[in-house]
Symmetry: C2
Subunit: 363 residues, 2 copies
Amino acid sequence: VDFGDGYSICDQCLKGALDKIQNPPIGDFFQDFAEWVNQDRSFATGGARHSKRIALKVIKKIHPERNIVLVDANAHYSTFLAVEENQLVPMEVPHDGKPTYRVNLEAYGEKIDEVVDKTGVLPVAALLTHVDYQYGNLNDPAVVGNICKQKDVPFILNGAYSIGILPPPPRSCEIDFITASGHKSMAASGPVGMLAFKEEYAEGVFERSKVVGDITGRSWPGKYCNFLGCPSVYGAPLATLMASFPAVVERCLPKNAEEEVKKVNFLVGEILKIEDFAVQGVLPKEHPLMKVMTPGFAKVSETHPRKGFFVREEFKKRGIIGMAPGISKSMKINTFGLTWEQVRLVAWAFKDIAAQNGLNVTE
Amino acid sequence: VDFGDGYSICDQCLKGALDKIQNPPIGDFFQDFAEWVNQDRSFATGGARHSKRIALKVIKKIHPERNIVLVDANAHYSTFLAVEENQLVPMEVPHDGKPTYRVNLEAYGEKIDEVVDKTGVLPVAALLTHVDYQYGNLNDPAVVGNICKQKDVPFILNGAYSIGILPPPPRSCEIDFITASGHKSMAASGPVGMLAFKEEYAEGVFERSKVVGDITGRSWPGKYCNFLGCPSVYGAPLATLMASFPAVVERCLPKNAEEEVKKVNFLVGEILKIEDFAVQGVLPKEHPLMKVMTPGFAKVSETHPRKGFFVREEFKKRGIIGMAPGISKSMKINTFGLTWEQVRLVAWAFKDIAAQNGLNVTE
């Protein structure tokens, strides 16, 4: 609350750099965050997409002759835009399609070879979405990390849906950059993200300004180019990220994360009792986000006086809100942070709405 | 408060674009803001520095053969970093030095000619700091705007210290882009800024994504490249900027802005009664930010048991806080928003501290 006005953090700045501010202890937080995700350094950004943009920019500067970025076929659009913004070209690593959409992690190796065959140089980087936004599939970064290390391709892990939800990946995964989202998965008021990385990239990430005023001779050799000075982000977004951090670390402990996964799998089991309902993505779930296909609801909507809106309204009657209006074919549900009682309520609501609308529900 | 959690704005997004969200009415706000600053369009950014970076990027794309940006010699470091980030070169337009530091606005014309002579092409843009961060000097954008229009150079006005404090510049100033700061001058919780611009630049600012997934065929032709999708900024920063907007418009009405200028000039008059004290920058003040030279305090600090810290401590005793610890040679003061009673208290404190420490104060 002390830093909610958005500028109080800058009032505490004596050295012109965000990470040198001691109240609140921003530099310490960056170090703590880096250690928590098993990296060497970290810094705050305007969101995971900005972290991806900066990571790619730093790597591109090291390897200017390379221009292809490998991305998994489940990557979020912001990954593609970060690639595009750096004037690079994405090449997708395929998933196995409907219904599991499982990314073929081993294919990163073949794709790297393909890029070398076609262009004569390695890809500039390989990016893997740790957990995707659509199916909530969890990918093992160690597989891609070790392929990349062996083939000498920098490896970026996008943890927008995982860092803050699941235990951070161990050091042995050979990750060069981890991108994370404060507002998506770390209980922070957005927009804020984190970029964590290995020490060898620190010089590039923290590249200092070299510009000089030709008349005044002014220069700012302490300012970070990639953050347009120091203040990539501050105020409420950064203060809430820091305030939430201890609770976020706690909830990612294996015992707590495992409990969350039990909840989602319980709900999956209940939903699959409804006629024709399906859960896309890899099962059993390893992350609390799931995509549910609800063809029975879509069929009901064809003749229902409220059309597709009945779905949202029926859930709302049963105390469950947040669904997009009018959607009846599929929905994304995240059980993260719900109590067991709440998870059971959601399961009951699905089955009750289905049964009341003439769909078969097995017990 | 409804949008303080940072993601509620995105929960209201149905069309995948920030400016299409109707609750809160973000698109309406962008239009209102543009009209208020006498431009055609506007969008939110992560701060004025990001607005400058994007404006330069858009113009550079139109004129890729140009690489020099004219900037006034009082420009903030973030202006130089925005130039540097676009791989452009700044060329300063001089001020007249100590004590007024008045920018020679007419020199923009000569500098443009000089660039053409030296490089064979026009500067990519001319940037003027409307009110600088150091002396609070107000520059008339009409002078530079008309020179730029005549010579066909795009003109950027950095209003980080003016938009939200003074009446916005009229349309006749021929400004192509205005950059503004939410947390510096528009009573918003940072980081947030605005970029307002003429319609002819809308296509460039709102350039859409062209990237395509080679396997999945996914593409996002509705997403804005320069904002890495839609969400340049949202949550508390944007919600507080919108919440403050009516009050900000009100306080910038000429009668209110003029009253603020009376207050700062009253304080200047009082401070100048102290032996050797001076106010740098152009006088009388046209903006409530001033730089005060306090050599008498510096002299006292040489023998004072609390050294330079006595300045901050003496002001604090008199109910005035916010000074940097240990500084005794000069200080920046902004009287904006103080009541007349508070301004008189500050004036009295200056004179009282000076007199009690043996400095001459005339009446």
